[in-house]
């Protein structure tokens, strides 16, 4: 099964995606990540209002097997979290780029997002 890597997103090496619209970015984890984690049973999201630094552990995804940290792919303030994941964590498995999104970030000014991966670069990383 080949992994989905939508062309309109940016990616972090740590397997998060961002959908950037102006200074707002929606963040989730990639299809490859959800497939590796399997059976997501709980998602712990950051508090709204929390200021995140790129690379900081900011959420936790629990599968049956283990708990895994999720890292902020860019710096910014959390302005919204996906409350649907509290009741339906499996959305991360079924719709990683849609209803399974994690949180929205108001991107910090003047940050360097060139470290983020293009779809092709992420594809090369996961060997997809």
């Amino acid at each position: 099964m080949s992994t989905q890597i939508p062309a309109d997103l940016r990616y972090a090496k740590s397997h998060e995606w961002l959908r950037i619209a102006g200074d707002l970015a929606t963040v989730g984890i990639t299809d490859h990540a959800q497939h590796e984690l399997t059976d997501i049973v709980f998602v712990e999201l950051p508090a709204v209002g929390r200021a995140l630094k790129a690379g900081e552990a900011c959420a936790v995804v629990e599968s049956v097997k283990t708990a895994s940290d999720i890292y902020a792919p860019a710096s910014g303030e959390v302005v919204e979290v996906n409350k649907a994941l509290e009741a339906s964590p499996a959305l991360v498995n079924s719709e990683p780029y849609g209803a399974g999104w994690f949180f929205k970030l108001k991107l910090a000014n003047e940050q360097d997002t060139t470290a983020l991966l293009t779809p092709d670069a992420y594809k090369a990383q996961v060997g997809g």
């Binding site: 399997t38 059976d39 936790v60 629990e62 097997k65 283990t66 708990a67 509290e86």
Partner: protein, 377 residues
Amino acid sequence: MLKRTPLFSAHQRAGGKLIEFGGWEMPVQYSTITDEHLCVRRAAGIFDISHMGEVLVSGPSAEAFLNATLTNDARKLSVGLGQYTLLCNERGGVIDDLYCYRTGPADFLLIINASRITDDVAWLEQRLASFTERVAVKIENISALTGAVAIQGPRTPGLLDQLFPEPATAGTMVSKPSELKKNQIGRFKFEGLLCWVARTGYSGEDGFEVITPDTLIEPLWTQALKLGHPCCLQPCGLGARDTLRTEVCYPLYGHELDENTTPIEAGLGFFVALDKGDFTGRDVLAAQKANGTSKKLVAFKMTGASPPPRPHYAIFAEGQKVGDVTSGTQSPSLNCGIGMGYVPPALAMPGTPLEIEVRGRRFPALVVKKPIYSRPA
């Protein structure tokens, strides 16, 4: 260097995700833990358990030696019958938990934990050295020459009959494996070689464990998957093995059991035969049975939305830390967090509220009766 079972390349070919377990490189899952778990509950799964140890204890005084060394009463075993039992130190602490089968009038087969093979064999040999009838007992560790699979689930009896179409030639003399009753073991032929088939398991479902010469395990695995297709047999990894056994509260060595924990504390008093005469650890175990213990193993369920409990998380009651989680997971059958852990006896009654601390936050749980999950009648 991690050890590999004879099925290692079969696991690779089947897409198994390999992890380290007790010094072995073993598959944790092939599809997902939940999928494999539910497959065993509803149909059938096959697990590689070749990493487990096998020790033969034989001779005219083998029964007396085992009765002086293990907690359960080996005299209750007729030929072809097995029992769960424990190997304890002088303090009653558990060196290992194991299955002991009587395969012949003076022959016993012990199935021991992979991580405990060296310690168990050393302990057995040391006990034998001080056993008066030692010349009439032989201990033989055949772990390296032996492979094993567990075939578990409600649809397995018919599959075992297809795998082993000829009648048993030793042990319980049944005409086919499905006639074995729980804890019975029989010797059957597969591709002309002899295997032991026991009706037992670690999943809480009906099922079998098959112990074979190591060269036979891969053909057996392949044939089982081929014949098992109609009953939805899936290869299952250690992940599902762990969630299945946690739901039914079977202890796992290194989690619920260790050399500083006794069978009485672990709630395994049923497997300690205090009436059979002296055995290693008896004094401590008898005193604990009479006077109680300072800790007791409980099962618990998370009562609301929470992260799954995990081993080593702290257990709280009324604001005080009272113990640690020994095993914990999300239950695929019940779809909630479940676990086990040691608490003071006053907190061991079903219905007692506890809290489990996860990353600095406490989540409510309730002590429940064991097993946490029972298969529907």
